[in-house]
């Protein structure tokens, strides 16, 4: 029945139809509902069932545990700060109500731009933004205003993706560019100790917090200002700490990592190397005995479970487009991300979020890493001639 309906309205969206301007929108929805039954004309007659829609969907599914936990944690932090006990559902719904508008804005703005560009370039909609669109709300603080988010999404989609030619051609991870944009354009809304806990009632849920109760620093923020970390390691591991919406829970992120690694959508080489790089450099700083620097003395395993390190390692560093593309290059790329992230954290207390900068920095150098490995293949070929 749905098929018949689609077939009936389809002519309107084709070239010359009344709704031609919405062709890419229609096409996007049609291919979302039904596998396109376009058959091959040249080359192989049969194709693997995998396509980029499926791959992106897997990543979104892998993000869900962290997202759902993040929603709960928003409520938990609010109730804990207010000193009120709430039920699980109260806390979850509160977080859900706060997060949903962010997701809607992110997808609305991002997909809107994608649809316009696709229509303009007469291309199919690319599904890359399915992932970026959910990543962005997960890596901002809860108190980030919606208009800021919309601005950041628009900036990232246009200047980090579309001007390069769309999904598959971009150099920097669009979600991280959105976050970096916010971080540098509106630093007070992105860091400090006022942004991590929602402090207002929303739709009758949650509690109004006073200025004191609202002040909640992340563990990394505390360490960076040489204050004792209040959260226990087990809280950090579970994720019941203040932080960006989706990146607090190591456990939820680990579930996502299992999904990505099992389906082989993400490269285990990159993921593992980030953790190894982070752990080794963490150990190195531990052993240096820098008395005055609390971050340097944070145990290496605490480094790995705080401040978006795990989230970046699992969901950002493994982005196939912006990471190294050669298999050996992935080890180096991942290792340097982990190492740099910890180094930035320790050496520059102004940027406790080293992970974002580390990944963006390595995005830039991924082609160079690949170049070295590809060049060695080329040199082998040249040597063969000389022999």
């Amino acid at each position: 029945m749905l098929r018949k309906f689609l077939d009936r309205i389809k002519p309107h969206f084709e070239e010359g139809g009344r709704l031609q301007a919405f062709h890419s929108l229609f096409d996007g929805f049609e291919t979302f509902l039904y596998v396109p039954n376009k058959t091959s004309k040249v080359g192989v007659s049969i194709h693997d069932a995998i396509d980029s829609k499926r791959i992106m969907s897997i990543v979104v599914i892998a993000l869900l545990p962290a997202l759902l936990f993040g929603m709960y944690n928003l409520g938990y932090q609010n109730y804990a700060a207010a000193g009120v006990t709430g039920t699980f559902f109260e806390m979850f719904l509160y977080g859900f109500a706060l997060t949903l508008p962010k997701i809607i804005v992110s997808y609305g703005v991002g997909l809107g731009i994608e649809f316009v560009v696709a229509q303009w370039k007469k291309e199919e909609i690319q599904e890359g933004f399915l992932v970026s669109g959910i990543l962005i709300p997960m890596i901002v603080p809860v108190n980030c205003p919606l208009w800021m988010l919309a601005l950041a999404v628009a900036f990232a989609v246009i200047f980090a993706k579309e001007i390069y030619g769309g999904t598959g051609m971009n150099i920097f991870n669009p979600a991280l560019v959105a976050r970096a944009f916010l971080f540098f354009a509106y630093p007070t809304s992105m860091s400090g100790d006022q942004v991590w806990v929602a402090g207002e009632k929303f739709l009758g849920l949650g509690n109004d917090l006073g200025a004191d109760a609202l002040t909640q620093a992340t563990p990394l923020g505390q360490a960076a200002s040489n204050v004792d970390i209040t959260a226990s390691v087990s809280d950090m591991f579970v994720g019941l700490i203040p932080g960006s919406i989706g990146e607090t829970s190591f456990i939820a992120i680990a579930v996502g990592a299992v999904i990505l690694l099992y389906t082989r959508v993400a490269s285990w080489k990159t993921m593992l190397s980030v953790f190894v790089g982070g752990a080794l450099v963490g150990l190195l700083f531990n052993s240096l005995g820098l008395e005055s620097n609390a971050v340097a003395n944070m145990p290496w395993h605490v480094h790995l479970i705080t401040g978006g390190f795990a989230f970046g390692a699992v969901f950002m560093a493994t982005d196939p487009v912006t990471s190294a593309r050669t298999e050996q290059g992935k080890y180096i790329y991942g290792f340097l991300i982990g190492a740099l992230a910890i180094t930035i954290r320790v050496l520059n207390p102004g940027y406790p979020e080293g992970m974002m900068l580390a990944i963006l920095f390595m995005n830039m150098f991924a082609p160079l890493i690949d170049y070295c490995f590809v060049q060695s293949n080329i040199n082998r070929r040249l040597k063969r001639v000389q022999k």
Partner: protein, 450 residues
């Protein structure tokens, strides 16, 4: 002792409708076609006119560049029509077949004592040289530049491909003689599969035999060349299909060229998948009589589903293929929410599906849907997993897309043919037409270098 090469990268795929090991002989058809599209890289120049009488082995057209390579008629009879397309491009030459075939007779006395020049002359005169291909460029070989070596592969791991061990049964001596003649031109490397070690196609006294053990495309000569004797710039390697080597041997034994071939009729849409004995260029509607009755929603492939060409019942059997396949077209399938559904009947190398749990013996009935939109290259390392050569396939494809000829040369474009990218094209989640891209890249490069 043969040297063994273990190939790890690649992908074996079982499709429904593999040909039963039995041969049905087809009678003579009324009309046969010689198809210039079988001989890539050649500009044809006609040497007969419509209405002229020809024998089996009479030249129909020659290549315009050297006029040495002859493309000969598969049957004797009258040239019925010369079919041309846009801009007078030669599409087919149709020959009305005699009731009894008459052959051109070649002098093959004492061939065992011949030198390279005599051997080459026989191949050129008989028309069998047209089936010699060269790397680089994957085009019909040029007799003006002798190769450093000649490669023959005796097996194919492509899905539904014909089994050469079966096709060659009873003609092993022809194969051996054919190899011996080729060995007069250059060093011959024969690549066999492990199952062929104890079969009568061995021993081959004039060739170096290597065993290639691994998944598709381990039967591709391109893979053999890359492992044994990779091509460098300005070097040329020749390649001949094993069944054409048999034809060379038959020519040496009888003095006649015979274009009768045993092809596999395979695929889930064939009524009775089996082998059939037929002359190259036969109309597909005769070849597939009783096998495919309704063409609607069925794809007929001249060749196998990975490297064959889409065709119709109005087409003709290509002289270079060893199988004809019929599989579902899939243009009438509406599959809902495929991006999330489990799709147990479908095959995928991705673990987001479950086919990896089904074991490698499960047979799939795949249709011709692309099953996704074309995208820029997103995932990394997809091609390399099924590309068993010391070449960065993804980077090479990018260099071809961007037209960077220096990079293409550096990355090893001279060593590859479109067919080597077939498995990569199958698994590609970005659905790029890799074989077309590589073909066009090779053609442009050949023009630039000539």
């Amino acid at each position: 002792m043969e040297r063994l090469y273990k190939i790890k990268k690649g992908l074996d795929l079982k499709l429904k409708g593999e040909a039963q090991l039995q041969v049905e002989s087809l009678g003579l058809s009324g009309v046969y076609a010689l198809l210039p599209s079988d001989f890539h890289g050649v500009t044809p120049k006609m040497v007969v006119k419509e209405g002229e009488e020809v024998l089996v082995g009479s030249p129909i057209f020659v290549d315009k560049a050297t006029e040495k390579i002859k493309f000969v008629s598969p049957v004797s009879g009258k040239v019925k029509a010369v079919v041309r397309g846009d801009r007078r491009k030669l599409l087919a030459i149709l020959v009305e077949a005699d009731k009894e075939l008459k052959h051109v007779q070649h002098d093959v006395q004492g061939w065992a004592e011949w030198n390279a020049e005599q051997a080459l002359e026989l191949l050129l005169q008989s028309g069998l040289f047209a089936f010699m291909k060269q790397r680089p460029y994957d085009v019909v070989a040029m007799p003006t530049q002798m190769p450093k070596s000649i490669f023959v592969s005796t097996f194919s791991k492509m899905p539904l491909a014909a089994d050469f061990s079966f096709v060659v049964k009873g003609k092993e001596d022809y194969f051996k003689a054919g190899v011996s003649l080729l060995a007069k031109l250059a060093k011959v490397h024969v690549g066999i599969s492990p199952e062929q070690i104890n079969t009568p196609i061995l021993p081959l006294k004039d060739a170096e035999v290597s065993v290639f053990d691994g998944p598709n495309p381990s039967g591709n000569v391109g893979v053999h060349i890359n492992h044994i004797d990779p091509i460098n710039k300005d070097e040329v390697v020749w390649v001949m299909a094993s069944e054409m080597v048999v034809k060379v041997g038959m020519l040496l034994a009888t003095g006649k060229v015979d274009f009768t071939k045993v092809v596999a009729l395979a695929g889930s849409e064939m009524a009775a998948p089996q082998y059939c004995e037929v002359i190259a260029g036969a109309p597909l509607k005769d070849v597939l009589a009783g096998q495919v009755s309704n063409e609607e929603h069925v794809r007929i492939i001249n060749g196998n589903p990975l490297v064959g060409c889409k065709d119709t019942l109005a087409g003709y059997l290509s002289a270079t293929v060893s199988e004809v396949c019929a599989i579902p077209e899939g243009d009438n399938v509406h599959e809902m929410l495929g991006w999330i559904a489990p799709r147990l009947k479908d095959f995928s190398t991705s673990r987001s599906y479950f086919s990896w749990l089904m074991g490698s013996n499960k047979e799939y009935d795949l249709d011709c849907r692309i099953k996704g939109g074309q995208r820029h290259m997103i995932m990394s390392g997809e091609y390399d997993k099924v590309f068993p050569m010391d070449i960065y396939a993804g980077y090479l494809v990018k260099a071809i897309i961007t037209g960077d000829i220096d990079k293409q040369e550096q990355l090893g474009i001279y060593e590859v043919a479109p067919e080597d990218f077939a498995v990569a094209e199958f698994v590609d989640s970005s659905k790029l037409e890799l074989q077309r891209i590589v073909r066009e890249g090779l053609d442009i490069l050949r023009k630039e270098n000539s």
